[in-house]
Symmetry: C2
Subunit: 342 residues, 2 copies
DNA sequence: GCCTCGTTTGCACACGTGTGCATAATACTG
DNA sequence: CAGTATTATGCACACGTGTGCAAACGAGGC
């Protein structure tokens, strides 16, 4: 059986409460006995029961992380950042993937509640408002990352997607492109809208038209969607000379779609991504994209949540807070001067 | 505050033990009162405390998953498989990334013990034997996936890497290649050795020599390593006409390295990967690789562990078990007939 | 040597849930 | 109707840890 503080108490001849205090470093206990107890604990390979502690203290030292999918490298990197910050403060992560499935979201929310997670970070742009409300009502401190329903939550971390998208678009305009299309992902809620907004804004300020058929949405994040739906844009009567893709995953698919259609990137058409996932440096040609500080987003989200946790006992209500991070344009080789019209 | 079974007891005028039984579906409780209690519980939005339950039952309904890194798409897909199976059986996941860092591994092991995880799945090929021993001594049921130290553990899931590597190599030999190099990842322990073994075996059975300089190892899994170290192989006096890469991540980097060196894949040189991660279909050219059933590996690992958990109370000791899964060769366009010697 | 004060430890209860056992309520048998 | 079998419920304790409070201990001052 696993050793408990009672076992240690028996062996050292003190009460279990003394052991508890000694191990927690309570100054009430004399240095001599504290040391004696700690040594005994080490020898007996004692490890406290998280369940018992959590039951008593009402704190689990666990942060819930809800992400739409684990196998999306964008989210993986954010999670990586979260874990760095969490582990630094002695917190553990409870990661769950919603997979855009409401039933699954329901189960996740329930599990978070049952485990009395100390707080929750939502990274799933499509997370259902109903589930969000449930979490809020339960009293969880919540930090949302790039989330569409952010108006309901008080603490959020944003990457400035509007600005990023403007920079990407400006880059293409500067290269002489005038017929630029946008390929979005309808499942990405606010994120795709922000990027679309930035795109439109920059086009407008350059006095360039954006015909309705130049804005197209797919329903998923895999390269497959990008490849399949690139046909739609390429087969338009007036095909674009550049495509601004919602993110790198789609852009990677679009690159292949173009190649299949016999188009040379970037000579015949320019393609841009967004996020700078690791693979975007290895496509052919390497992808021009917007380098989003994914890891920082994760660590900032975790730090904000931890701040919230450690200051709430004071009873003072935190001011709503919105942290906006900026990335940088990363010009590689999938963009070039607009092809001359014949 | 959160509602407890005592609150429900008060409201329904029964004792808290009756509530406990009613909610657990204990047939001791009459149908009428059980229904009444369940309804009250639903109205009061009752959710059991995982901590309390786990403390009392000594079962956490949580599986620990140790993975070397989350942002490696290969592991992500395995984790995805694990989660599918776990959630089906009402288990939750406790995921932690070791990052090849012993200090981190130590913390992870400790956390798993403190949380009294019901079992552990180790997917980190470089996981330290010391930590593994500690987990074993603690009494965790453990399932290892492709792990180097599998001899110490009784239950394991393997992909038949030796066979896969032979098939890949055979494919290249059939295409007329005679000078074939192997690029491994020294951090991947047994996995890279198995693949190297298969490679050598097939070369030998074809009567082809493998000069020592044709076997090269890098120390990491990112495409960057593949790109950087491809130079070494390409600059040999007798450069190979084909490179068998440890996995897709490295192969993706090698593809870029070849392009940089002015080589055309597959006309000048053939490249193969391993794993079939999602991006391998979108490289240029699309990567010939070995399609490993990643998701199945995950679900099988989880199922094996769950079987272990549900049968151990009988006291009967399980026979050691090793499940070997097979994948299939996936020929795409990064391999072609060996270039003619001039 | 008595009182006071500060330090160190133990007692007892609490957290929320599960369960063996005793007891109360009901049904059944003769 | 008494006695017994059956069913339904409650009591009390347990899981491992943390903590307010009382008690024991020792030291110092007069």
């Amino acid at each position: 059986m696993t050793t408990t503080i009672k076992d240690i108490a028996k062996r050292t001849g003190v009460s279990h409460s003394t052991v508890s205090r000694a191990l927690r470093g309570d100054p009430l206990i004399s240095f001599a006995t504290a040391k004696r107890i700690q040594q005994a604990a080490a020898e007996m390979a004692y490890l406290p029961s998280a369940a018992a502690r959590s039951l008593k203290t009402n704190r689990s030292q666990v942060l819930g992380v809800i992400v739409s999918s684990i196998d999306d490298p964008f989210f993986s990197e954010i999670v990586f950042g979260i874990e760095e910050a969490a582990q630094e403060s002695g917190y553990r992560l409870f990661i769950a993937a919603s997979q855009h499935d409401p039933a699954r979201e329901q189960k996740i929310v329930q599990a978070m509640m049952e485990h009395r997670t100390d707080g929750v970070i939502i990274c799933s742009s499509s997370f259902s408002p109903d589930q969000g409300r449930q979490l809020l009502e339960y009293g969880f401190p919540i930090v949302v990352v790039n989330h569409q329903g952010a108006e309901n939550f008080h603490y959020s971390i944003f990457h400035d997607d509007v600005d990023g998208s403007r920079q990407i678009t400006r880059h293409l305009i500067d290269l002489g492109h005038r017929k630029i299309a946008y390929l979005g992902n309808s499942l990405s809620g606010r994120t795709t809208l922000d990027r679309l907004t930035g795109f439109k804004a920059e086009m407008q300020s350059a006095g360039l038209p954006v015909p309705a058929e130049y804005i197209h949405h797919v329903a998923g994040n895999s390269p497959q969607f990008g490849m399949d739906d690139s046909n739609y844009l390429l087969n338009l009567k007036q095909p674009p000379t550049a495509i601004v893709c919602f993110n790198d995953m789609l852009a990677i698919g679009v690159l292949k779609g173009c190649r299949r259609a016999g188009l040379n990137v970037p000579d015949d058409i320019s393609i841009t991504g967004f996020d700078n996932i690791i693979f975007s440096a290895y496509t052919h040609p390497p992808l021009t994209t917007f380098d989003q500080p994914k890891q920082s987003i994760g660590t900032e989200a975790a730090r904000l949540l931890l701040d919230l946790l450690h200051s709430s006992p004071d009873g003072k209500v935190f001011q709503p807070k919105e942290i906006i991070l900026k990335g940088r344009l990363l010009v590689r080789n999938s963009t070039a001067a607009s092809p001359k019209e014949h």
